[in-house]
């Protein structure tokens, strides 16, 4: 694991509340880098599901979702860590797991989401999406990055390492200044 982790802030200046939130989320994300096991993360989504993810069949447009499958043991193990991490913050936040996709460097996918349904990046329902530039930077540099592009939102992205020292995933510690209790209840 890299020892030098520099917090980078995008779209400054942050207002005071966001600054406090960003500081707390940065701490959550920092701990996440230490706590989340990148080897286990790689075992979550099955190879079969990854094969289907990019298959195109006009007669079967839902094939990718219908064949999405995970190893529940690995999923649960990582999800529990993410839940615990979210409780480090003194306000509601989610810690989501994101992963790159082998052979598709321009894409990224969310792998685990959590109870508050908070993410600054996930378009609801997407199995994968275009790589987020800040995520690409985290994956390449190992530096934590704070993102406040969406008004009122703060996400801190941090790398997740495997036993070889490679970055295999990243976490998004996310919250919103003004939580909407009814959003995404669907």
């Amino acid at each position: 694991m890299k020892t030098l982790v520099l917090p980078l802030f995008f779209l400054v200046p942050l207002v005071a509340a966001e600054r406090d939130m960003a500081r707390e989320l940065d701490e959550v994300a920092r701990v996440a880098t230490a706590m989340v096991d990148g080897d286990t993360c790689r075992r979550i989504v099955t190879p079969r599901a990854l094969q289907y993810m990019f298959k195109q069949d006009p007669r079967d447009p839902w094939a990718a979702g219908d064949n999405y499958e995970v190893n529940d043991e690995a999923f649960i193990s990582v999800k529990k860590v993410l839940i615990r991490l979210s409780r480090l913050a003194p306000f509601p936040c989610d810690v989501n797991l994101w992963m790159p996709i082998a052979g598709h460097p321009d894409k990224v996918r969310v792998v685990i989401r959590n109870v508050n349904e908070l993410s600054q990046f996930w378009p609801w329902g997407a199995l994968f999406q275009d790589m987020i530039p800040q995520m690409k930077q985290v994956l390449e540099t190992g530096h934590r990055i704070t993102v406040t592009e969406k008004p009122g939102w703060v996400s801190v992205l941090a790398p997740v390492y495997n036993s070889l020292g490679d970055i295999t995933a990243l976490v998004e510690a996310a919250s919103e200044k003004r939580l909407d209790a009814h959003e995404n209840v669907k």
């Binding site: 839902w62 989401r113 349904e117 009814h182 669907k186």
Partner: protein, 612 residues
């Protein structure tokens, strides 16, 4: 009425009417057409329903059982723009009959650049406006359509009643005589199956009622206005012989505050802290008082989703550990006790999992299991539910599973655990013995699809109640019915996720119905009448005749052969294979002609007329 005006009073007799040609150049005309032929704003029938110019007839005559609605489209035609008034008046004794008038909104659909009437705006009588209708903003509009509902209460006296629709415009008038023969027979209040209408959360209410939510701001979601809106949505479906389901949690377990009792503590300390919002939401639904003002009378809702999901009431952090079981069992026990103490024992409370792996909240599919390994989670939750409930509780808890790919195996593997099944239409279509098998062991079996768009023939929606009755299931679910799109009024997406519309635009603090919902209601009442006649005729004969009249099919045509791939593991199936497997039965339902249900109704009415 002067003869010249009388000559313009043109109408229809449904069934055996004698038609006379339309008089094209008349300045003001009043016409009527059956419910399955929707008018357009220019005096014709929409292409999907036949497309012919309106056929105007001399008299409107109906024969119906009590406890039912008589419906038709009434069309005001004016060659030139101008004001008019329209009213329906009983001639002589009205008995207990009532006439409801709705203005039909013509939606412009972006997909085919055409107008379709669907939203129905209740209007007071006489209705006074002008053509073109100012708010609908249709260039060169020459016709305005209205939906008429005559309500015949169950205790109305059997007799012949007479009414008139009266149109007035700048000194001219036109009348349309209407005769209603009320039969002694009464349509049962209970339906042959439950027509269920599904929705998710409540955030859409703030969007659909911006004046109310804007006025109340942050207080909206805890206001009396908010709960009145929710109850109004339940009421409109109930009044249309249906029910509403609102799911109160998201795919990663987020719960809407009004769908749950507030909790506090964790582990052994987890308990209900406050029932306030939950009881304001559900109390009037569970005791039936939300329906006190309806024509069908107060009655508790028959089914409701519980908010239980893998993250509520127990935290998923503790999944697989003693803490999960304690949190789940203790809170469910409190819920059972609360429901019992309140006397909420008529409603079935559904333990139901809606999440899917593909939404990354949890590692198993609660909805539409494809991979059989996921069934072990159902077994575990069945164990937890059993542990939470006293053995002899009068509160009705059910374990519901919405099933597709793996349903055939799940019916076996989860027998005795899951006892309410909502099945996909396609796969159930090749399991003709499943409904009876499930009924016999005491399970509930429903199936699901979605509302037909307005661009399809108006009669399309009749297929679901009829198919459900043919199949012998207990319910049908339209999967989403309150999402009319960002601009249903001028850029409509067709309404495949909407059977009601927000009424705020028209000064109504609640939903307004649609043509499709009205047609569905009338289908349900006909089926209720028909099924009640099973004491005189074998049920299969009634079903056979209904199928024959509807689309010239036999009972077996409503089922599909079991495809060869059904013997393969479900994870090897694919969507295109499923589509192919559906085709034989679906081919009979692809083109429902506008008169399809009218023929069934004629059959029902003939039998009902023999009832004393």
């Amino acid at each position: 009425m002067p003869l010249s005006t009388k000559g313009r009073a043109l109408a229809i007799v449904f069934g055996a009417a004698v038609g006379i040609p339309a008089v094209a150049q008349r300045r003001v005309e009043l016409a009527a057409i059956d419910e399955y032929r929707r008018p357009d704003p220019f005096g014709s029938i929409v292409a999907a329903d036949g497309g012919a110019a309106l056929t105007l007839r001399r008299e409107l005559s109906f024969e119906n059982a009590r406890g039912s609605y008589v419906s038709f489209h009434l069309i005001v035609k004016m060659a030139r723009p101008g004001p008019y008034s329209l009213a329906i008046r009983f001639a002589g004794e009205s008995g207990k009959l009532e006439a409801d008038l709705f203005r039909e909104w013509f939606h412009f659909t972006d997909s085919d650049k055409k107008y379709y009437p669907d939203a129905l705006i209740p209007v007071a009588q006489p209705y006074e406006s002008r053509i073109p209708e100012p708010d609908n903003r249709i260039p060169n509009q020459t016709a305005q359509a209205f939906w008429v509902d005559f309500w015949i209460p169950p205790d109305a006296a059997p007799a012949v009643y007479r009414a008139r629709a009266v149109l007035k415009s700048e000194g001219a008038s036109s009348e349309l005589p209407i005769q209603l023969k009320v039969l002694p027979a009464v349509v049962p209040n209970d339906d042959v199956l439950l027509m269920d209408h599904n929705s998710y959360g409540t955030s859409w209410l703030a969007d659909d009622y911006p004046a109310i939510s804007g006025r109340l701001g942050d207080a909206f979601f805890q206001s009396d206005e908010f709960f009145r809106l929710i109850h109004a949505y339940h009421r409109i479906f109930y009044e249309h012989r249906g029910i509403l389901h609102q799911l109160g949690y998201g795919h990663a377990g987020k719960v809407g505050p009004e769908f749950v009792p507030a909790l506090e503590g964790s582990g052994r300390g987890r308990r209900v802290a406050n029932w306030s919002l939950y009881d304001r939401h559900y109390g009037p639904l569970f005791d039936g008082s939300a329906f006190a003002s309806t024509r069908r009378g107060a009655r508790p809702i028959p089914f409701v989703y519980l908010p239980v999901n893998p993250e509520w009431p127990a935290s998923f952090l503790n999944w697989g550990e003693p803490g999960y079981e304690v949190e789940f069992v203790n809170v469910l026990s409190e819920m059972e006790r609360h429901f019992r103490e309140r006397g909420w024992t008529e409603t079935r409370f559904e333990l139901f999992f809606n999440h899917k792996k593909r939404y990354m909240g949890f590692p198993w599919d609660g909805d539409e299991v494809r991979f059989p390994a996921d069934n072990r989670y159902f077994l575990e939750y069945g164990r937890l539910l059993k542990k939470a409930l006293p053995p002899q509780t009068p509160v009705k808890f059910v374990f519901r599973a919405d099933v597709s790919w793996d349903m055939e195996q799940q019916f076996k593997d989860l027998a005795g655990v899951v006892n309410m099944w909502t099945a996909s239409r396609d796969i159930l279509s090749w399991l003709p013995r499943a409904p009876a098998m499930l009924h016999e062991r005491g399970d509930v079996i429903w199936y699901y699809s979605g509302p037909p768009t307005v661009t399809l023939p108006a009669s399309s929606i009749t297929q679901f109640p009829l198919e459900g009755w043919m199949w012998g299931v207990g319910g049908f679910v339209h999967w989403l019915v309150v999402s009319a799109g960002s601009d249903p009024w001028f850029h409509f997406d067709g309404g495949s996720t909407a059977l009601v519309y927000p009424g705020e635009r028209f000064g109504i603090e609640g939903p307004i119905p649609s043509v499709r919902l009205k047609i569905q209601r009338n289908t349900m009442q006909d089926l209720a009448m028909l099924a009640s006649l099973a004491k005189r005729k074998p049920l299969d004969e009634l079903k056979s005749q209904a199928a024959l009249q509807y689309n010239h099919t036999g009972l077996s045509d409503w089922w599909n052969p079991r495809p060869a791939f059904a013997d393969q593991p479900t994870y090897e199936w694919n969507g295109s294979g499923l589509e192919e497997a559906m085709k034989p039965a679906m081919s009979h339902l692809e083109h429902i002609d506008p008169a399809a249900w009218a023929r069934v109704r004629q059959y029902v009415t003939r039998l009902a007329a023999e009832e004393k």
